[in-house]
């Protein structure tokens, strides 16, 4: 996904002279093509993420569209106040790009486990929070962030993710996207991020017979799309590689409960949330191993 991101950004930057890329001393063997083609629109600001976000805000105040690239928690949690106050409050065109979603950097431990970012970023007014499930979504969302002017977050996994969408997709914000669009079942899975790959294989390999949708926009969510699924299915299962509290599943529950309270939904389906059970992992592990250890798996019961 990170090469999809950078390749897409290069294509966009050829059309749009305002695109600027900052990194926090990261991106070896990923960012070089951008840096060499657009040396005037690239800067390694050093290992100083809070300052990097402020520099981004300054560039954006002068009309640049700034992408800020680093690993997981560093361009997000490390500089939350800069994101909230400098970027979002002033509604600046700054896109935070974090690689290493969830347990993508599993063996590197908690410093690199990116498991609270969705919660924190989606709580900030005006922040468009996105998490692609596959390289096609990563490309579409990168293009989306290049078009849309305002604060955004792109949460990408790492490298080598399979393509899940068999057909071409076009992203109209904040639409949810079908992966297994089945009508003949009672359960729909709504999944966010690269773990959607596991959702798809869990459903297919265990013949669970469920529908599956990808939810790339965590803030704002696709209210109409979610209400439609709530009308259609009796059970919703949410899946994300993120803490249970305040993540994508929480966003779905909030949306549906509000629709129920306002009378827009007459009944409300059961929503089972599968997420990291509000715990840290204290040990090393591959992404796949840590996902399973955290119970991020679909099964019948």
């Amino acid at each position: 996904m990170r090469t999809t991101f950078i390749n897409t950004l290069i294509l966009e930057a050829r059309q749009n002279p305002d695109i600027f890329l900052l990194c926090g001393d990261l991106g070896y063997s990923v960012l070089e093509p951008f840096a060499s083609e657009f040396p005037d629109r690239f800067l390694n600001v050093g290992i100083a993420e809070q300052n990097m976000m402020q520099i981004a805000a300054g560039l954006a105040l002068e009309g640049y569209k700034v992408f800020v690239y680093s690993i997981g928690n560093f361009p997000t949690l490390r500089c939350m106040e800069q994101i909230r106050y400098d970027v979002c409050y002033h509604n600046l065109d700054v896109k935070v790009v974090a690689v290493g979603a969830g347990y993508a950097y599993g063996p590197l431990s908690t410093s690199h486990h990116t498991t609270e970012d969705l919660a924190m970023l989606r709580s900030i007014p005006g922040m468009v929070v996105t998490a692609p499930s596959d390289p096609k979504e990563a490309e579409a969302l990168t293009r989306y962030h290049c078009q849309y002017a305002g604060p955004g977050y792109l949460r990408i996994n790492k490298a080598g993710e399979p393509i899940l969408h068999k057909t071409a997709i076009s992203v109209v914000a904040p639409q949810i996207l079908p992966l297994l669009d089945r009508q003949d079942c009672e359960t729909v899975v709504i999944s966010t991020g690269a773990i959607t790959e596991s959702a798809l294989s869990d459903i297919e390999e265990n013949s669970l017979g469920w529908a599956l949708w990808s939810m790339p926009f965590v803030n704002p969510v696709d209210r109409q799309g979610l209400i439609q699924l709530a009308k259609q299915y009796q059970t919703i299962i949410t899946l994300e590689e993120h803490q249970l509290n305040a993540g994508a599943g929480s966003a779905i529950i909030e949306t549906l409960m509000d629709a129920f309270a306002s009378g827009e939904l007459q009944t409300i389906p059961k929503v089972h949330r599968i997420a990291i059970p509000n715990t840290f992992q204290h040990v090393a592990g591959s992404q796949q191993w840590l996902r399973l250890k955290s119970g991020l798996k679909l099964s019948k019961s």
């Binding site: 001393d25 063996p107 431990s109 410093s111 040990v283």
Partner: protein, 268 residues
């Protein structure tokens, strides 16, 4: 007490084997700090591997958590846990030996891996010791790249202001960070002058000279002490020295054999 030169060799050999067998990164920064770790664990630190939490121990905070193999190896060769255990378990599923420093490993004071955290915590631990009239010293091992972080300069300002004379910061000044040379990315010079201006006592040493390191670590100062250790990233293996690529690469079979030969040969 260990022969620190021998200990440094063992540390480098173990770092090399860990990065080779477990396909891990950050060997360059482990090699640059290996002599510093050997002198501290083999000579200067008051510590007891049988009692890692001994209250009167000196506290060592290892801020450059990515180069964890140097700390884990120093601890293993000092007797905190078996070297075999480290070699077997490093980065394995379910292991406490994560590839950034983990405080669940005996002898480790603080988990690190997000840069720019440990100095401030070390300053807090120093403050606690002073308030309780304890004798322990506190060491913080930093990389040069992480001096980009504002959090470090806040802690430097704090420690100078509060005369935290039991605090020693060692800067592994290997001149290279993740995506370029320090002087190109964000220059630190004149570093000694900056630290002096922030109220620190400053010593500049060759970070691979054990006698010089021993001398600075025994200095008594009325201010916090900054040891600017001039080092070589990848020190000890000719083809890794001063090469940014060895921040990332893990040695493959041939490279491993060559490197091990340069480090004295024997399989650790």
């Amino acid at each position: 007490m260990h022969d620190t030169v021998q200990l440094a060799l063992l540390i480098r050999q173990t770092c090399l084997t860990l990065c080779h067998t477990k396909n891990a990164s950050h060997l360059g920064g482990a090699f640059s700090v290996a002599d510093i770790m050997a002198v501290l664990y083999g000579h200067s630190l008051e510590h007891n591997p049988q009692q890692p939490r001994m209250p009167e121990r000196d506290r060592l905070f290892y801020s450059k958590g990515h180069a964890c193999t140097a700390l884990y190896s120093a601890l293993a060769h000092s007797g905190y846990f078996p070297v075999e255990q480290l070699l077997n378990e490093f980065t394995e599923n379910g292991s406490f030996f994560t590839s950034h420093v983990n405080h669940h490993v005996p002898g480790v004071e603080l988990s690190t891996g997000s840069l720019g955290h440990a100095l401030g915590v070390a300053a807090g631990v120093t403050l606690a010791g002073e308030r309780r009239h304890k004798d322990y010293r506190v060491y913080a091992i930093l990389s040069d790249g992480e001096l980009d972080e504002g959090s470090n300069w806040e802690a430097i300002l704090f420690a100078g202001h509060h005369h935290l004379s039991r605090l020693t910061m060692v800067i592994d000044y290997n001149k290279i960070q993740s995506f370029g040379h320090v002087e190109d990315v964000l220059g630190l010079e004149p570093l000694a002058d900056k630290l002096t201006a922030f109220g620190w006592a400053v010593a500049e040493v060759d970070g691979h000279d054990h006698e010089a390191l021993k001398t600075v670590f025994s200095m008594a100062t009325s201010q916090p002490l900054a040891v600017i250790a001039h080092t070589v990233k990848g020190k000890g293996v000719s083809f890794m020295e001063n090469q940014l690529a060895w921040h990332y690469k893990s040695p493959k079979h041939d490279e491993y054999a060559l490197a091990l030969a340069e480090l004295g040969g024997a399989q650790p």
